[in-house]
Symmetry: C3
Amino acid sequence: MITAIMGGDVIRAVTRAMVALVSEARFHFAEDGIHSRAVDPANVAMVIVDIPREHMEAYSIDEEKTVGVDINRVYDIAKTIKKKEIVEISLEDESRMKIRFGSVEYVLSLIDPSAIRKEPKVPNLELPAKVVLDAGEFKKAIQAADKISDHVVFRSDETGFYIEAEGDVDKIVFHMSEAELIEFNRAEARSMFSVEYLKEFVKIAEAGDLLTIYLGNNYPVRLVFEVADGKAKVEYILAPRIEAE
Amino acid sequence: MITAIMGGDVIRAVTRAMVALVSEARFHFAEDGIHSRAVDPANVAMVIVDIPREHMEAYSIDEEKTVGVDINRVYDIAKTIKKKEIVEISLEDESRMKIRFGSVEYVLSLIDPSAIRKEPKVPNLELPAKVVLDAGEFKKAIQAADKISDHVVFRSDETGFYIEAEGDVDKIVFHMSEAELIEFNRAEARSMFSVEYLKEFVKIAEAGDLLTIYLGNNYPVRLVFEVADGKAKVEYILAPRIEAE
Amino acid sequence: MITAIMGGDVIRAVTRAMVALVSEARFHFAEDGIHSRAVDPANVAMVIVDIPREHMEAYSIDEEKTVGVDINRVYDIAKTIKKKEIVEISLEDESRMKIRFGSVEYVLSLIDPSAIRKEPKVPNLELPAKVVLDAGEFKKAIQAADKISDHVVFRSDETGFYIEAEGDVDKIVFHMSEAELIEFNRAEARSMFSVEYLKEFVKIAEAGDLLTIYLGNNYPVRLVFEVADGKAKVEYILAPRIEAE
């Protein structure tokens, strides 16, 4: 029997993060917390989600379990939970999960994990630039770029971090100098990405959340969001788009 | 000449309650207040609405009148009135009604009441269980059940009051114990109802409103909402669904 | 080089005012501020927009310029700016405009002004009645009238100012007496107008904004809105509809 008690904001952020890429996923209830990983059907992006044990209100686990979850359904439920509301998730066996909050208890049928696409390995990426900024600012930049183009360039050099989008006639540049960034190692890097994916990713972000970007040259980017007041970590790895010469 | 002065919240709640079932209805302006009753075209549900004289800001009536009202149109107007705004409804004769608030006055043509479907008799129902709870909690339970199934079971026994919905794979149980309920007579009862109707009914309910449920066994339920800070009473009577064996 | 710094509320109100009638417009960056004028394709309404220099946060101009602007695009950007946010608009030449706020900078291609429909002359109108009221009240009246009819009558006499709409069966009258109006010269006037246009015009108005109406007899009306806390002036001139006998 496993019981995990957490804030409504945590289950909401974590399921929102997953639905951006997949409709079903394996969740691992481990000694040190709850973990999940998935890649989207096009193999362009990976999501890695962690709720560390110490960030839950309570967590009791007799034996580690891996279960298959219909993410859409859980997100649908999570949306009806208030952020500050306390949620209890319990697993008696691999066939059913209970989600309880207020006077309501859901009993969800689980999916056989072996029927869900195998989890991806997390690639070992050497990414020179590290940029830490307010996730709310990043969200505004992506939403602005989306009005101009379907792709953006992330770029960093000693003058700061840039997000650039170019449309047929118009252009947008988002720029934060080292002084405006929370942390920055001044490394040079530059890659181009699809706005379609980024637009989905930023939906979990709120002003005040911390975002760490690891950027390389024509290489995948790692976007590590600390959401729900830092109680959950959501990492996206996104493949670059090839720039036409 | 009849003049009724009431809060915007009252006219809004009462017309919202009626549009859930009908598009036209007879309203009785009587000495003791304003009353209306109607059944839906499928004869599955009845709505009974009362605005007692003592809950209006002012009420002057020289002669009782029954008028036919296009409920959709009045609800459309009511939606534009703020909750705290004062509304004056006046009737000079059976052909026109004036609705006045702020600097705006509507003059609405009335419908010949004899052209509107005859009002239902209120059935005499023996319902053993009485449950009083926060209408906001009930609303959340119905909205949650709606994600799972098109029908719900209302059930009470000495352990409390239950709302249960079962889908193809998932299940939801809403449970309030005697301690969590405002009033409860611990009687046993159980009936099944259509979520389609309940979903409409709860639209008038807000957290803090009082709801009294009278429940029987495979028998209609009476749902009595006290809305607009207790200034109006809306009662729904809903026929049960037959449970398949 | 021209640089204009203003509140997000100003650029938002001004571009919203223009999109009500046109998708492209000429903007004049003059010594005394920024100005634009346009008529709708049907020649029924004109909009005149002014941001006086003294109502901007800062304004530096070396040489007056006229530029052609894709209003839809600028309004699209303006909607993403917060009301209190500071925006910098800069023009190096007639081909590109930069809009900068927070960490974001847009570079917009401009349109050759000679490719945009010639600006209208402002007609010289003798309008006897002058009515000053809260634009929020006017907005509510127009939105209410829209539920009843596609045209409204504006009317003034010594008893006050009236907006009247008559539908097939229902009627609405909005009335403000001299005491309720902010200013009123008690002149008699009466003209009928299309609700379609008025509905668009009031979208810029908020409770607390000042609206001055100049009304004649079967003659165009001038509606002068002071928006964005009085920092921008938007004037609409609307042709009357002919009343059927």
